[in-house]
Symmetry: C3
Subunit: 327 residues, 3 copies
Amino acid sequence: MSYRHNMQLTPERKLRHFLSIEGLPRALLMEILDTAETFAQVGERAMKKVPLLRGKTIVNLFFEDSTRTRTTFELAAKRLSADVLNLNVKTSATSKGESLLDTLRNLEAMQSDMFVVRHQQSGAAHFIARHAAPHVSVINAGDGCHAHPTQAMLDMFTIRRHFGQFAQLTVAIVGDILHSRVARSQIHALTTLGTNEVRVIAPKTLIPKDIEQLGVHVYHDLDEGLREVDVVIMLRLQKERMSGAFLPSENEYYAAYGLTQARAARLKPEAIVMHPGPINRGVEIASSVADGERSVILEQVTHGIAVRMAVMSLCMGSHHATQEAEA
Amino acid sequence: MSYRHNMQLTPERKLRHFLSIEGLPRALLMEILDTAETFAQVGERAMKKVPLLRGKTIVNLFFEDSTRTRTTFELAAKRLSADVLNLNVKTSATSKGESLLDTLRNLEAMQSDMFVVRHQQSGAAHFIARHAAPHVSVINAGDGCHAHPTQAMLDMFTIRRHFGQFAQLTVAIVGDILHSRVARSQIHALTTLGTNEVRVIAPKTLIPKDIEQLGVHVYHDLDEGLREVDVVIMLRLQKERMSGAFLPSENEYYAAYGLTQARAARLKPEAIVMHPGPINRGVEIASSVADGERSVILEQVTHGIAVRMAVMSLCMGSHHATQEAEA
Amino acid sequence: MSYRHNMQLTPERKLRHFLSIEGLPRALLMEILDTAETFAQVGERAMKKVPLLRGKTIVNLFFEDSTRTRTTFELAAKRLSADVLNLNVKTSATSKGESLLDTLRNLEAMQSDMFVVRHQQSGAAHFIARHAAPHVSVINAGDGCHAHPTQAMLDMFTIRRHFGQFAQLTVAIVGDILHSRVARSQIHALTTLGTNEVRVIAPKTLIPKDIEQLGVHVYHDLDEGLREVDVVIMLRLQKERMSGAFLPSENEYYAAYGLTQARAARLKPEAIVMHPGPINRGVEIASSVADGERSVILEQVTHGIAVRMAVMSLCMGSHHATQEAEA
């Protein structure tokens, strides 16, 4: 597995691709957060645009639909002044029977600089990065149940803005840990950044075996797990899981694992509530909590643009510097 | 109803949203026309772009398909150097069960500056404006049978370019007044701008009750209604009305309410013929009239870009000025 | 037919539209290649953008799906800093029953400067150019079985980059000549540029009658036809031809007309292999040949951007100069 972790880095240990949090050094995660801080200020200006990636071509290569994630990457790219190409690969390139690698080779030949990849299969972004030309960076915008690293980093950015540090925090992730690429990336980010305690809270059927090896504490009781936490991250419940053997009814789930008004009221005064969106009101979280004072859900969306701008500019900067050094 | 009218204006009575013509003061309509005049000149230059909205994000939020209207708003935004995001909300955001308000909150959190809204339900743009964040302007690109104010203003622009004034004009609107958001907005614009006489001409089944209260004269006979008019505005006949109880056959409609060559020939020499498009040739208007000397239909399309640029830049200018004053 | 050829040229014999290679003078083809050479250098820079068409509006008017061709035109336009509008006309404009000419008139009224047209019917781009307003240029991005002139010019560009001349070359085009707009445009380009010998190689059912009149030599035996060639251009086999009377099975076709490893090995040492893409591996070309040392298939894709930038800027430059002279 180690080649996977290192392929994200240049020999100088700068970001070349951004595929998963796993294996990235703490200093690099801090560099992403620090860079995002400068872009967050750009977003607050009347003129929300910088010429950093002007003349670059960024391809949104979406094998799985996601208007929201595509939109945030598109906005991030445009605010960096890059040219953006949206390709819904599901419906287009392979309709003439062309292979994935031929599609990639063609986009590379068009002098694309970056692929933002969303795919329903775990490992797809790594596969594409492994076969990418030297002048192309790959950013994972979510692959199967594996990873969603920009989501995790925007969550870290939001936590740092509120608490300024990770070392004294207890963070709980609640919901379908088993199928969540978001949770997996969050756990790696939180532990790498030195979070005091990371908890995962879910019914047994929704917790992967051996997850303690990632350095987390497992709780099956929500009220117990929420005691003394500083950050609660609620995961979206994929309703399609309901039909299977994983879950009881929506009502029973809400009673046992929903962040109700009563539960939110028992949190520490300064605790914040997060959610990657889109939220299912009344399924995993009460409407009043999602819209309440503790909720930082919309801040997460705002920070998502800044963090994606940071990751894009760092990837582009590093590998171009490398190419010049080699030339 | 009065809060609706005022919510379009800042305390300084500048344009904050553009939702309907109803309730807007004459001076403001004139300001839109004057501003559009400067943008019309931009469109005639080899370099059809100004940096006015550079760094702004404009979202085309279309709940109802309309390639033509979306295209004109997209071009208007690009010629103002804004970044444009096209969202077909019908197929995307709500597919994961997210509510309209959650979609809006997310787009606002992405620091969008303006929503251009098209919706099949009357009142949708007002609803969105009422719930919009302070930094967002809303432009109504057509809501149900209610209003289509940018269409009305491009029509006013076209009339003013030809006659220079409204006070001595007689304007007739012909066709399905009952279901037409275009007609409703045109009537408000024409009366606010002090048009001498506004006529609506249609069969009884296609005229709303009490429409005289808007200050128009009703005619059921086309030949009578067209006497001495300076401007004829033909409405598009929605063919789906044919199947209901509203209308006789297409041929009978054309005979009674179509702008035939013979009828066009009897108009005053300087009279002009308008149509919001797309036209049904041989249904509500003869091909030879649509393409003839009196027709200003394509001028309307050209003016549509300039008027939309004017409305966008006025909304953006006013509410940003307000925000700065508050800051 | 002669009006067709001349309608591509201004009175000063500059490029006004780009519809087919047929009838274009050699000097003009050379000017396209020379201009593309400068744009190829732009593509190799870190900043792949020039402000040449800033403020211009280019409409991709695609009546037939083609993600790849649309993408290359979109990138070419964006790298020239133009604003691009993508219209999938199949699904949009005509859904309200509007005629093609009305759609064109409307896009012209929006002050579009250029239409890039792809259509399933031969002659569609000529038809549109014949009816276009004076301020609009039309570029044929493929019409039926007729022409695909930008594809032919990127092929010429690739050949010239490898050999520096055409006068001493033997070029073979292999495959479904009968239905190929690419082959037709390539033949005209090669003969106009003074290629020593142009061969077409295909079964009798896939060769148009009287093709020798275009100045080519016909071969039905691939091994014989490939002797002493400098350039082999393999055409994509449209699999839908298989079901008809034109062709035997895929395997038989590959045995008789596929560019196998063995056949490629018998080519002259400096010979190159081309393909317009997307390739059918193992149908018309062996995978090892497509990815092998002789293959310049991906270079063709890269050159496609530069050639399209050249054609766009030449068309735009010439007819604007003409318009100014007339003004």
